[in-house]
Structures are given as structure tokens and as C-alpha cells.
Symmetry: C2
Subunit: 473 residues, 2 copies
């Protein structure tokens, strides 16, 4: 690999490399085999460029961009490299701009409930900096240790609290970004109400580094509850899970923090692997629902979960539940939802999908997909789980990607994405487009929107300096 | 006025007028004196064009736009005409497109907590359609009876719940808009998680009709509490008001619905006018804070307000409070905050300002402004009130606009807007730019942002068909 890198890196002009070194210092520019010490994240292809620069400021990034333009070199910006759709892939002849050294929390005020951070600050670093003030960022992801705030902004990250606090776009009060011409867009307001002209920061949020390099972000924070209670409900239907969610949203005590649905096949996988069981819990029910309430008093939260259960039991038969009575038990319940690695260990690179479906459409959508997939191949029994309060479903095939022919893969995608825009959903809920989903974006989106995306890209980055080949193709 | 209209309308080409009539029917096109029956809203200048078309569908609007382009006629779109910064002003030779007939609630699902509405639906009509399902739009304004959802989207409306549910931008899940070329941008997703390419709906939100005509909106709804309790706290300082807000946000029972600060001079005005007083309430305190908590049980909410008061009393001296013990008393307290008309009855067209200030900067900002205004003219003692949980302050001068020289007016504006961007605030929190605030936008904004706004406007609407002379000038 390192030999390959050396050859490939030769494609970067030597005076460009010299300029990078003099801008950031030799130790902050890596190429060839030196890149092998860098964690490539989800896929080795992320480091395909084999040339990385580690700037320490927005001004350095602006200078790098101008220099790259002058040399016709294109830029792929990297945060934590946790993206799942190839948004960070790079190629020989490109330069990777890493935000790793932009890792300062610039400003934090508990009174304001706002933190201004540099793009390379990880979600976990932000969480740890504010936890003692009783605050949280209002967004959380399993990849918190690697995922950076800049990356989360660029991909408009989602997570489990989106039904309550919105997605990353809704957490951003202000933003600074370097534009493709090397100018710095600076709108670091720390207020939620801002009607001062077009709010163009939204162009950079979710654009996956194709329109700007996000360098600083003012993040809105939320008070975190002092107690959390969690229960797992075994339910007969999606309808029952939605009704449970509705009741939990209208909780008389505390507030809903998470409503995660786990359909049977995935529940079977994780519960068996972790040898989880609970007396009276009907582990073979169609839908399992993990509910967490947050509030001041744990006992009252648990009581409220019990009350919700009684209300549900008045409407639905065949339900069961288990209430976590300790932090350890809560973690055990969460593992049943979050240990998705299990799937990939059994089915290498199992094709996975990340869709948003309006809540009233989930039941019909799931039935249609499952039945059509079984028709395609009777052995298909996908793992299904997701954030039911916002309709974000994750569907992972119980098959290695190599088990499927090109044709079968295309059929699977057609089944899962068909009509998703028509019913008011989204074929890409929180993973983005990157390089993998461009075809699907074109297949499912309004042509007027697609044309406007191209226009905007053309206007801001006519030379295609930023992350070429991603999102807009 | 009507004679003037007739003359002015002559500037619209007669074949354009014929085309309008044949598109929408004669009764849905008004010109000249017929326009006088239309409510002009905040200012008569809104109807300056004296020609209004009332389409009933997005397709009709698209056809109108194409026809206007062909005839070189520019368009001013009207919702409820409640805007305060001249965004709806129109001139002879222009055509007003009213969304009044786009008044259908297209889709509503209590399970989804989403409503899809046409642009001309008023906030109040939406509220009334969903209230029996225990839902609310998560945004509320005093002008709810006139303000339309389309107008609220176009101006990115704010209101009292923004600290909790965001501004209008954060309530919009999906949107349909007619573009300046007459094409229809259609993205009526009903889900919060959508990472399917650039989220260009945000271009149209807050653009005040200069980039698109919003025709349909998918609005996120929130569960409304069954009970609300309200108290008024008399406090010694901004710091105490912020601490009270922080405690209320972390309420052990219920959740904060509103935190409205009323500084002394405005409180004096409204409390004297309405002959409001309460025993033991120190009406001469510097800051009055109206707190509303929502939840399941009114008695427990009142108890929680009492607990907050006790906690505050442990930290601050000279505080007092009154707890509303009935709906009527709650309304009386709210009137002390909301009867802003009183100001304008005393001081005709009193200059008013609508700024966002980061919470930790409010105290210093208010002190600086008040002291500099007094220096400018010792008789100035502005009315000050606002949404303290999000830093949105309204400042209204205790002077008629005619009392001030041009020079004085400019000085006042300089004092109030100076450094507002630098401290992370916004000179226009929720009222927008319209035609009145263009100069201030240019004075306070990042030049890179301003240049990008012009580029975007130029690209989407190079012919300046949509609301020319507004926002981007």
C-alpha cells in the first residue's frame, strides 16, 4: 500500500506540496507511506489521495484552498471518517484537508446554553466539556468518539433525539466556512432568532464538503435530565408502537428521550447473542420498543413508564414489558438495539439502507418491502430497527453483499426506495449521499431540485475544487 | 385613492391583465378601485400596485409567473400583510399575488404530528384544526388571525416558543415553491430526517418572497400540554431573570412554555393603563419576568413555580411574585406583555427595533444602549421587552417617529445595531429585512455573506421578477 501511495502522490505538483509544507509546517503534511499511520475510518478508500494536510486555523484552510485552486488540485475534507456512504473517499492527485487540529472549544456559556467549537472537536469532547453544567448537545450518535462536529454539520447528522431536538441542522446557530474561492463565510451568531437576510449557512449544512469547508460552529445546547428511566415493550404491531410513542410524548411526568423500535429478526439476533431474556417478556413479538424517559426523579419516571404500559394494555392484547431497574440493566436493553456490528460480522458488508418514512406510512411500507424482498429471494429476512418517533428506519439485509448479483442488488434498492418520495419520506435519512447514493438521489428526487443543486454547485464551485464526484456527481 | 389606482394600473400591459383574468377568472383579479376593498394590513403601501391576482393553486401561480416574465412584470407575493419591515410593499406596474385562496389544509395526521397546508392558511386556522388532537404548531404569534403559514415561512417567523421549538424554519419539514422561472420546486417530505442532497428549501425560508413563492408547507406539530400555569416575577436584574429562566428550563415538573421579560418602563405603561396591581408585588423592580409552565396537572405546575420562586429567593433579595390562579388572571398577566399597541397610540409610528442578543451579553448590551440613548437625548427612555430565553429583545422608542430628526434616527440605529454581529447577535431577530432594513443589513453583515446573497439572487432570479427592491436591494 505504501509503495502505491508514493507513486500515486507523485501526481500532486511538487510546488504545491512545498507550499503546503511551508504553510502548516512539515510535520502537519503527510504523504505516501506516512499516511499509513492515519486511521482510515470506515474504508481504506478514504485515504486514497495519500496526501493529507493538517491545518490549525480557518485562515490556514483559506490559504490552502487558494493554493489548491492555483494548482488545479481538488480537496476532500475529513472529519472523523465515520461516514457510511463514501463522502470522504479520495483519489491520487487530490489533497485531504483534515480538521483534526481544529480541536478547540472556542467559547462556552452555560447561561447561553451555547458552545462555539472548531470543526474537529469530537461530539464526545463537546459532551464531556458541558456535562458538569447539566447540558448536552441535543444530538447523540454511537460514533461520538470519532465523529466531529464539523463532519456532523457537513452530513447533517441525525441520531436518536431528532424527534425532539431536530437533526444537526437544527442544532447549528452559527457557522463559519471556507468557500471554494478561499474566502471565509462568517456567521457565528449564537442566537436562534436571526432573520437578517438569506440564511445561507444551510447551504453548507448537509452538503458533505462540496460547497464549503466548515471550520467553526455555534451549537445550541439543551439541559440534560438528572435521571433517565428505560423500559422495553413487547408489542403486537407498528400501530401499537406508534401509540406507545404518542403516549410517551404526552408523558405526565418527564419527557421522552428515545423511542427505538426493534423488529423481530434483529431482536432475535442481539438478544440471543447477548443471552438476554426476562421473565414474562414475550421475546417473539413482532415489534420491540425501547422507551427512555428523562426527568428529575427516577422513581417517578419508572412509575410513568408503568402507567404508559397500563394504558397500552387497555388497548392491545399480547403485550409485555420489562423495566430496567438499574443503570446496568438500561445498558443491557440499549445493547439489544445498538449492537449492529453483529449483523456485519455474520454478513460481510451487508447492504444497508437508511430511510425516513412518515409515521402513518411505516406499517404499509414495511409490509410491502418485506413481502417484495421475500418474493425476490425467499431467504431474505432483513434486520429492521430504527427511530420510530421520527420514522427513520434502518434496513440491513441478512446477506453478504457478495451473495447478491448486481441485478439482485438493484432490485433490492428499487423495492426499498420505490415511492419513498411520493409517500413523503426520504431515501436517505441521516447517512447522506456521498459517492454511493448519487444514482439513487437522481432516481428519487424532484428534477427541479436536482437542477437547482447543480446550479448552486456550479455557482459556488465552478472549478469543482471541493469534494468532486460527491453528492451532485 | 381609487382614482390614483386607476391611473397607476394603466402601467400594467393590457394583454397581461387579460391573461390574468383568463387564468383565474375575472372575480379573482382586482385592480384600481376594486383593490380598496382589500385590507392593506400594516401599511397602505402594501397595495401600491393596485392590481391583485388571487390564484387557487400552485399551478396557477406557476402560470402567472411565466406570464409575468413574458411581460416584464414583477411580482410581490402577499400573505396576511402583517410584516413590519415593508417586505410586502408594492408599486404601480407590479402585480400582487395573494395566497388568500390557497387556504386548504391538504393533509393532517395526528399519528405523524404533521400537517401539510397551503400557503394562505392562517396560523389560527391551523391551530384550530389540530387543537382537538392535543397538538399545536410549536409557534405562536399575536397576529395569528391574519398571519399565514406561507408568510411565516417566507419571513422565518419567531414568537415566544423559539427557545424550545425553534423558529419557523425549524417547523418546516417540507415545502413546495414556485421559482422565478415558473418551475415548481417540490419537496413535501413529512419527516425530520432528510439527508438527500442539499436542503434547498432553506433558500426559500426567510427570503421574503425574493427567491420563490411558497405554495405548500409540511409543518411539524407538537403535543400541547393539558394545563398551563403562569407567574409574574419581579426581579432586581437581568442576571436574576436569566437564572429564573435557567431554573425553569430545568423544571422538575412540567416544561417551560414562555419566558418573557418586561423592563420597567414598558411594565409601568401597561400595568397603569390596565390598572393592574397585586399585593406584595414590587411593581417598580427593574425587570419583570412572565413564566409559563405547561404540563399535565395545573396544581403541580403552580407548585413548581412556587418552588422556582423559593430557589430564586435564596439567591436574590428584593424579589416578589404573583401566581395566576385562574385563566382570567393568566390573561391579565399576558396583557402586560402583549399590549404593545399602547406604545404606538402614545407615540405615532414610534421607531422600533427587534434584535437578538446572546444571553450572556444582554445585560451589558441593554446598559450600553440605554446609557448612549440617554446621552443622545435625555428624554429617551425606550420601552424594552422580549423573549429572554432566546435573547430576542424588542426596543421601542418613547417618541413618535416625527419627533426625531433624520440625524437622530440614524444615531439611534447606530447605537442599537453597533457591535451586534460582533457579540454574536442579530440586528433583525424575527421581523426580517423587507425594504426598511436593507441599509442596516449591509452595515452589519459579513461582506462574504452579502456577496453570496447577491449571487444566489442573481442566479435564481436574474430578471428580478420576485419582490424587487427587497432584502438584497
Amino acid at each position: 500500500m505504501s509503495a502505491g501511495h508514493s507513486v500515486e502522490t507523485a501526481q500532486l505538483p511538487s510546488d504545491f506540496i512545498d507550499a503546503m509544507r511551508s504553510m502548516v509546517g512539515s510535520s502537519n503534511f503527510k504523504q505516501g507511506s506516512a499516511v499509513d499511520t492515519v486511521d482510515h475510518g470506515v474504508t481504506a478508500g478514504n485515504l486514497g489521495a495519500a496526501a493529507i494536510v493538517f491545518p490549525e486555523s480557518s485562515e490556514q484552510i483559506a490559504a490552502i484552498v487558494k493554493c489548491a485552486n492555483a494548482h488545479g488540485v481538488s480537496i476532500v475534507t475529513h472529519g472523523g471518517r465515520t461516514g457510511l456512504v463514501g463522502g470522504a473517499l479520495s483519489q491520487p492527485g487530490q489533497i485531504i484537508v483534515s480538521t483534526a487540529r481544529l480541536n478547540r472549544i472556542v467559547q462556552f456559556s452555560a447561561v447561553e446554553r451555547v458552545a462555539v467549537v472548531e470543526a474537529g472537536v469530537t461530539l464526545q469532547a463537546l459532551q464531556e466539556a458541558i456535562v458538569d453544567h447539566g447540558l448536552e448537545p441535543g444530538i447523540d450518535l454511537p460514533s461520538r468518539g470519532s465523529a466531529t462536529i464539523g463532519g456532523m454539520v457537513s452530513t447533517n447528522a441525525g441520531g436518536i433525539s431528532a424527534f425532539r431536538y431536530g437533526v444537526m441542522r437544527h442544532r447549528v446557530l452559527g457557522l463559519e466556512a471556507v468557500l471554494p474561492d478561499g474566502s471565509i463565510y462568517s456567521d457565528l451568531t449564537r442566537v436562534v432568532k436571526n432573520a437578517a437576510g438569506y440564511d445561507l449557512k444551510h447551504l453548507f449544512i448537509g452538503a458533505e464538503g462540496t460547497l464549503g469547508i466548515v471550520t467553526r460552529v455555534a451549537v445550541k445546547l439543551e439541559p440534560s435530565p438528572t435521571s433517565v428511566a428505560t423500559a422495553l415493550f413487547g408489542l403486537p404491531s407498528v400501530e401499537a408502537a406508534l401509540e406507545a410513542t404518542r403516549l410517551a410524548l404526552a408523558a405526565q411526568y418527564g419527557h421522552l428521550r428515545a423511542a427505538e423500535a426493534i423488529w423481530h429478526s434483529f431482536f432475535k439476533l442481539t438478544s440471543e447473542e447477548h443471552a438476554w431474556s426476562a421473565s414474562d417478556y414475550k421475546a417473539d413479538c413482532p415489534v420491540n420498543l425501547l422507551l427512555s424517559l428523562g426527568g428529575a426523579d427516577e422513581e417517578q419516571l419508572q412509575h410513568e413508564l408503568g402507567r404508559l404500559y397500563e394504558m397500552l394494555a387497555g388497548t392491545y392484547e399480547d403485550i409485555s414489558a420489562v423495566l430496567a431497574s438499574s443503570q446496568a440493566q438500561q445498558s443491557q436493553l440499549w445493547r439489544l438495539r445498538e449492537d449492529t456490528d453483529l449483523i456485519y460480522r455474520r454478513h460481510a458488508a451487508a447492504p444497508s439502507f437508511d430511510v425516513s418514512v412518515p409515521l402513518s406510512e411505516i406499517d404499509a411500507y414495511v409490509h410491502r418491502c418485506m413481502s417484495e424482498l421475500r418474493e425476490l429471494d425467499p431467504s431474505l429476512d432483513p434486520y429492521l430497527f430504527g427511530h420510530i418517533a421520527d420514522g427513520n428506519l434502518h434496513i440491513v439485509l441478512n446477506a453478504a453483499s457478495s451473495d447478491l448479483s448486481m441485478e439482485q442488488s438493484a432490485s433490492v434498492e428499487r423495492i426499498i426506495y420505490r415511492d419513498i418520495a411520493k409517500i413523503g419520506g426520504s431515501f436517505s435519512a441521516e447517512h447522506g449521499i456521498g459517492s454511493k447514493r448519487i444514482h439513487s438521489l437522481k432516481m428519487t428526487s424532484d428534477p427541479v431540485k436536482l437542477a437547482l443543486m447543480q446550479k448552486i454547485k456550479g455557482q459556488l464551485d465552478g472549478m469543482k475544487t471541493f469534494n468532486p464526484g460527491k453528492v451532485t456527481g
